[in-house]
């Protein structure tokens, strides 16, 4: 397997494990945290900050999430999923932009070749 695939495959293995493997949080809770979308109000401040403003996470965010009944193990998983989800979006966005740029460059080269 080429090295480029090994890096990507290793990331996908992490994504697959945290979303689809066994966990203390439900698969739905983990998926919502990963997507940072439709998260219950008690978890939204924590998940939203982990995804987009992690330096602003506070003790109060964890306290609010615990008060809703989540255990520390469940919160551990939810935070990991929120972090991995944001990384996945950036990784995907970067690779998609690269593919688009490569296609454009290839198209321009072909166009130049056909007119020369």
């Amino acid at each position: 397997m080429p090295e480029e695939d090994k890096k990507r495959a290793a990331f996908q293995a992490l994504v697959d494990r945290v979303l689809n493997g066994e966990g203390k949080a439900s698969a739905e809770q983990r998926a919502l945290a990963f997507r940072n979308a439709d998260v219950p109000p008690s978890l939204e401040p924590l998940v939203g900050k982990v995804a987009t403003r992690p330096t602003r996470v506070t003790d109060a965010d964890f306290a609010a999430a615990k008060a809703s009944g989540l255990t520390e193990d469940q919160l551990f998983e939810v935070v990991v999923c929120a972090a991995v989800g944001q990384a996945a979006r950036l990784y995907d966005a970067g690779l998609a932009a690269l593919a688009q740029a490569s296609a454009t460059v290839a198209g321009e080269a072909e166009s130049c070749g056909s007119t020369s």
């Binding site: 992490l14 950036l90 454009t104």
Partner: protein, 193 residues
Amino acid sequence: MRLDILNRGYGAGTKALFALIRVFSGHPVPDAAKIVFYRSDFYGARAKEFTHEAMRGASSWSVADRELMAAFVSKANECAFCVGAHTATASRAYQDGAKVQAVLADLDSAPVEEPLRATLRMLGNLIREGKASSSDMRDVLSAGVSRQQVKDALAVCAAFTVTNRLADAFGFEVLGPEGFDAGAKYLLKRGYR
């Protein structure tokens, strides 16, 4: 750390390992290392594998370049723990702390090759804006960076996008210069596995 389980929820064998590391290194195990031992089947095992592949797997970027990317990504994410850890590691890897500090202070004027500068600029934009355009990528390719190098840099970015978030969410203790330097020696000798 903010969750008690991350401070105390380790088995006897892991606690003994932490104690041994403390004795032999002269420093407590950093929170970034502790966390991958917590229920490692959920996160740590695969996170270590991915991070090691991104940082030490085959790439035409040097280990020093990738450690600099890790520091730069961490700075864009404002993660104090990871900036400290990977500034120390990149500085050791290059044997040039001034170069690393210059990149983190002002990328445009820093003494680095254009392909690396263009790649770091793209990573910074990706993190700050949460998106990338084909124009961003054409700029990087035009600077002489190969497609494979872009992919390798994106893997570094993904690895530290995760770690930066865990560091700030869980509240990793920021170490002093000696602690970060001890961690840098370990990472350059053993990697991330």
